[in-house]
């Protein structure tokens, strides 16, 4: 067996917290460059692999904001396991769309959404399996240390490609002007 010739692959884990999977769509949007990417990396926990828990990884990509207790749990698991943790997209960086609920009381929102039924009965979900909503939606850097940020809603496939290439290649990741956007 030829040991030691194949370069060690970089391990990447990805997760969506309170997000729309748009950033993951952008990752797929690097198109045929995915084939190049899989030569360099292997995926740990990710919607792509369906692995449920994150093991020791080199890079963790987090999409979405912190909306409930499970989001916080997943984020902490990523921080504990990833050498570099990256906030991907507007929601992870500043709360984004989910944070538009922050002007309202979370209790009022639940009442409004689930109590306004034709028969007037409240059906606010209370199954113990359901993670509790946080009082507000938080950007992920409010809870754990974040090493890099990739802005955009979503960041383009080109932006993610540039970022991953820079980071895996040992350079300081830097987006070019056309890739740098908040929307």
């Amino acid at each position: 067996m030829d040991v030691g010739t194949a370069p060690k692959k970089v391990k990447i884990a990805t997760a969506t917290l309170g997000g729309c999977f748009g950033c993951h769509m952008s990752l797929l949007d690097i198109d045929e460059r995915l084939l190049e990417l899989v030569q360099l990396v292997e995926f740990d926990r990710s919607p792509i692999t369906d692995i449920k828990h994150c093991g020791p990884c080199d890079i963790g990509l987090i999409e979405g904001a912190l909306c409930n207790a499970e989001n916080v749990h997943v984020l902490r698991e990523f921080r504990a396991n990833c050498k570099f943790l990256v906030a991907v997209g507007a929601c992870a960086i500043n709360g984004g769309l989910p944070a538009q609920r922050n002007r309202f009381d979370v209790g009022d929102i639940l009442q409004k959404v689930y109590s306004d039924t034709p028969d007037g009965r409240s059906r606010v979900p209370n199954d113990p399996e359901l993670p509790l909503l946080l009082d507000k939606v938080y950007p992920i850097h409010d809870v754990v240390r974040i090493d890099y940020f990739i802005p955009g809603c979503p960041p383009s496939g080109d932006a993610l490609w540039k970022f991953l290439n820079d980071l895996i290649g040992g350079r300081t990741p830097r987006l070019d002007y056309p890739q740098f956007h908040f929307d």
Binding site: R103, D142, P151, F180, F182, D183
Partner: protein, 238 residues
């Protein structure tokens, strides 16, 4: 005694100026961009956003209010000053509700464009998520207090150009906010009209023209391809 030439030094370049010009106007006229937000070529300087902070003979100050003087040594494009500017932008972003993906001004917003140009990757600070109102009472304009950065350009335009005093700043510190001069306090009951300078001067998405939202497609907006340092330089140097 010989008189000194009307030239100052900006990051090593010689910038000529007319007496009475500020460092910012002289630099822009000479084709050198200094980041700025509340300064506008049509109005007297306001000096509130502090983004144009430069180091003049070793002391920091806003380039929009400091008069150019012969022989000044001015530093602007340094990593230290750009870091200060980024922090100022971050504070502006967390203070309001600047949700770019849902804003009609996105792509043509000076606050956003400066954040791009200065590579502000995250808001860094804890978001205030203030609870601010939207005033949609005017037939032609939407007033969204969530995005106001208190630059007072609308105040200055309405007072100095339109002669109407439609806008003013009220409250202090965190409670500062724009108020509208009308019996009800609503924009719809004010004298603001579509031809007013004040209606078109907002650098962010706080005063938005109705019915034209998202009319410019992504890819064709003001700051989509070139950074504000190039776009506005060409614009303001005219």
């Amino acid at each position: 005694m010989t008189e000194l030439a009307n030239v100052f030094n900006l990051d090593g370049a010689r910038i000529p100026f007319e007496p009475g010009q500020t460092i910012l106007t002289a630099a822009l006229a000479a084709g050198v961009y200094i980041p700025h937000l509340c300064a506008h070529p049509d109005f007297p300087p306001h000096g509130s956003c502090k983004l144009c902070t430069v180091t003049v003979n070793g002391r920091d100050g806003p380039a929009c209010t400091i008069n150019a003087l012969p022989g000044q040594d001015v530093r602007s494009d340094s990593p230290e000053l750009n870091e200060i500017r980024r922090v100022l932008l971050q504070m502006l972003f967390v203070e309001g509700n600047h949700f770019c993906p849902g804003c009609e001004k996105s792509g043509a917003c000076k606050l956003q464009a400066l954040a791009y140009d200065l590579e502000m990757l995250s808001p860094h600070f804890v978001q205030f998520f203030p609870n601010r109102k939207v005033d949609a009472s005017h037939p032609d304009f939407l007033l969204d207090f969530n995005r106001c950065i208190m630059c007072e350009l609308c105040v200055r335009a309405s007072r100095d150009v339109d002669g109407k005093n439609v806008f003013a700043l009220a409250g202090r510190s965190r409670d500062s906010h724009i108020i509208v001069n009308s019996p009800s306090g609503r924009l719809g009951d004010s004298t603001l009209s579509i031809d007013d300078k004040a209606a078109h001067v907002c650098p962010v998405g706080a005063i938005l023209r109705k019915e034209v939202g998202f009319v410019t497609p992504i890819g064709e907006r003001l700051y989509d391809h070139e950074p504000i340092s190039q776009v506005d330089l060409a614009e303001e140097a005219k």
